[in-house]
Symmetry: D3
Subunit: 243 residues, 6 copies
């Protein structure tokens, strides 16, 4: 069965990074994965949360949100309900964990980098696009610190990217757009370095899945993530060589 | 004294409208006034607030917010403090009042149009850029309703645009950027149709001002707003003829 | 057309100040403008907000609220909705800006004066009555500091009062009561020293307005404010001579 | 030991009721007990809470709050902390229970009366003054309903008043002012009809108390409450005869 | 009239204390009074609230809550409404006051003990069971401090227990279960040491009550509390001798 | 390396289910996995969320929370911060998804079952113990509906249980207790039916992991989950045959 946008089952959507998209952040990128668009801004602050005080170590955290009309219907702002969207809470935690797994906190030094991922247009895969974009923003912010002489080397142990994979009909697909995602029996988000797993979140939304299906999806994800990391290297240029 | 960006005292910053910027809203525009960038999305919903129920009349409202890193320093999100930023409350109310003053609620019919103005980069004049952009998004949404046959005519009685003016040193300046705004003795936001006032908010932040100064600032504003309305007409094309 | 209470178009409602109305605040006054009644209490605290720390300068701020039954229908308390009323936010900010424009922060010294304006009965013009009353409470609190030897002079650069003006029918009116305000085409709040503007907020609620109308309203406001400042001088007695 | 204001141990402070204090509520009174001043406003609304829907019965409830500067030091507003003051919660519930115990809900009919008790100046005994004043506001609101023909009789089964009593030093005192209250070993609030108890809340703040002390305090309270009910009868005039 | 569970009018329900119920708290007990079950956990923290800073004195406080399904119908969690249940606020304050009345703050030293009373199953009398259980948890926590050498003696001046009494039909009953409580004309919660009152809260929910009824209820309560204190002594063993 | 409690690497902690633990819920169980103890209460309500209205289908949801002293240090209650704990949000969503994957919503009919999982003592694996216990509470509630004749069959398509697995040192371990969990390089939560995956969440907290490690962990999890499902069958008795 052909995909809605004519892609092959193991093909990513076109991905573009707009570097230095916003002028104030220490690292900023707009990532577009097909029609999914996320502004990723990295802010460096010379303080750490209480549990890192006097540890000599830094901290990386992330916040994920959507503009009210990033989706087909308008979603009211969290502040009007006085409650953070539960899905946003879950995704913010995921992005933070993914980035922290490759940060050398000692080399970062006692400062915090916060990555704000704000989805301005959503068409599936916003959490994985956020991770892929956030890594670039984080690397740019690290480079900013290095150029200012505040750190000696880019404190990142490896590249990190993420993609979604899923079983739609009986077929495994890479990088689901929204209309595919809403029909998937199994939906999996995979965060990887070039060849190892950082986080796997697989859910049998409509039906449980078995080991074979899991393995098929992991293969697809690995291919996609390696391509995404190539794109990250392109946009980061020389900085990429230090990671 | 020359202005920081070389403009004349009565000269606007370059202004650009990116029409249909986000694909889901009924009306969408990205407005750039110099380095100030605001996404203005208009959402149509087929319901009205309680006080308009069964009135046969519509309602237009607005919400204003900033991304955390739209400014030099990062501002935490409202939801993390559980309080809406007081400045955002004031500006949201201003944008809503400004737009409502030219809407023909009867012709709009019993539906609500909400304009979300999200500042992605701020360099002074975000509230006036929001009004100027929101009007375009509103007109686009009205056109969407008309094309769908839900309304007979564009229910807008006139164009609306806004600009800031101020006294810096002893000189009146049009369209202040952030560094000018932060030095202004008097700061005024003016919302106008082509030749009449909709809202005037003038504040002697550093010192009181007199009638002559007021009149000088109103002249400057009028010139700027007429230019902005020309730009709005350009971007709206044929729709402009119906307003 | 005669006004509902028989006043001339350029006539204020009867105004009374009850000095030292509440016994605990450093400055306290009940202001009655016709049937509008506001308790204005000034509190001195020997600390400043973070952005004034170690500046040697003081800070003046204001909070505006209404009792639930200050109006015809009962308004629930903010705490039951967990949201501050948006109108109260806007007015609190206006009162604070108005007072700060005449305070000599250096002469006040590193302390905060908070003016609580609590409307116990509302009949139009609550925000302008609050400013007019708040100035008296502020002056009383300054005098309290001076009598205790904590400051050398009253740190107020000029008097401040405020009034509302509006166009009802085609006539400009001074000091609108509620029933006039709800019929006004144009509504303007003016804050002035004896002869200069501190803040002008004019809104064409029903229709835009032109420069002639603006000028007519400013004349009316100026007359009213000069009368209000005379009343403030009376109630402040000797303190008035030091401002 | 003489009392701070020269009263006898079994003597109330001077009490005054200002009837129809605010013009909008269906029942309104300012009660002054010495320096304690509480505005009590009764609002009638033609709806009931869900648990009374279609019961044919009414509901009476109360809300208690203080102006920020009703006390020696300024208390921030609840809305700024997003939390209702715990003491206010407790007192609001007490006032509501006290009034409901004498309301004939059937005779009131399916409507709600809310009594807002807002303390504008506090000098001890604010909760008992609130109950005593709230009863008068409630009776006035009932009379308003009767005059409008909405109910046939005043739906109140008896008078209700309240006072505080306490042991200071080793002496039982009636109607404690703040400075007495803060030194009391035992503090008791008593709510009564003319001769029976509605609520007793006694606390051995500094030390436990025995049955003799309890009885002494109940005698004092009974005397005070009978005097307060006389005052309520005076202010209510003819209405009093129907209760 | 026989009681629903066959008890005599002056008979407590069976009471059991499960000591050291949870393994982490400094003091922990599960109290069962009939079908009412409350986990009481005492936490010691080496800090005090601001008003006790540098006083050399400690502070004891309590928090009361219920699991959502501790009752016949499910009660949503407070956090989903963003408001603390008003009944829980009132009860938390009562438990804290009751415990503090017997604590020697000087002997406790500058630390805080927080008693969490979480009702896992409710069948009437949860507030009094909480007090009775909280006292045991508090004593265990004090003993923990003493064994660690942080305090010299158990800083408790006497035992504290609580029970509810009420008039159902025309009969005074001790320790009401839920079905009795919901029919009671008069409902009273009594907190006592072995022979003196700490807090009395009596409410004529359905009808006012007189001195004779009050005295009958106080007798019943005294008998019940003395039995509860015997049980507390049993479970505390040697620790009881030091109180 | 021997485990802290002497278990083999592929050995579960002792698990016990206390059926009908609380008397009010339609399904109730206390699950103990070693020292981790969770009360799981299932509530049936005859209404559905808006998005299921008139669908003929039911809905299953879950809420997860901890008592303040379920852990070594006391965690303040969410309501005191006015924010739901982010970890609790994530876990509540996981439990709900896990249960819904095996519910036949049509057979359940238009009603909601809410499973409250309240951890009273935590020693690692609270989210997986919650899922394992919640399934039993859910089955008991379904049986309650069937016995009342409201549904024809138990609307559960298969058993569901969950366990945690992880790599500690270089060894794969089943069912981590807290001290093991805090040292794990890789931590994975697995939710399964008897032989298929419902959800896999694996995180390389300290280091990324490869496919071999993933497979080893999945083997361990499968063994543990099959044992847990045997235990669930035992406690459910005859009900188990209908699933």
């Amino acid at each position: 069965m052909p995909r809605i946008d004519g892609r092959k089952s193991n093909e990513l959507r076109p991905v573009t990074f707009y570097k230095d998209y916003i002028k104030y952040p220490e690292g900023s990128v707009l990532i577009e994965m097909g029609d999914t668009k996320v502004i990723c801004n990295a802010t460096v602050e010379e303080r750490v949360p209480p549990f890192k005080k006097d540890s000599g170590e830094g901290w990386v955290t992330a916040e994920y949100d959507m503009l009210p009309r990033a989706t087909h219907d308008r979603n009211g702002r969290d502040i009007n309900r006085l409650k953070q969207n539960k899905r946003s809470v879950e995704i913010s935690r995921l992005i933070g964990r993914a980035l922290r797994s490759v940060v050398d906190n000692k080399a970062l030094g006692e400062r915090t980098i916060t990555i704000d991922c704000d989805v301005i247009q959503a068409d599936g895969g916003t959490r994985t696009a956020s991770i892929t974009g956030a890594f670039v923003a984080l690397a740019l912010a690290c480079n900013h610190l290095k150029k200012k002489g505040l750190i000696k080397k880019i404190p990142l142990k490896s590249f990190v990217a993420a993609t979604s994979v899923g079983i739609v009909g009986s077929e495994g697909l890479l990088d689901l757009c929204y209309s595919e995602d809403s029909k998937a029996q199994v939906d999996m988000n995979v965060v990887m370095t070039n060849n190892e797993y950082i986080e796997i979140q697989g859910t049998g939304e409509e039906a449980p899945f078995n080991r074979n299906q899991l393995n098929e999806l992991l293969e697809l994800a690995e291919k996609g993530i390696q391509e995404l990391i190539e794109k990250q290297k392109e946009v980061l240029g020389d900085i990429a060589n230090e990671i």
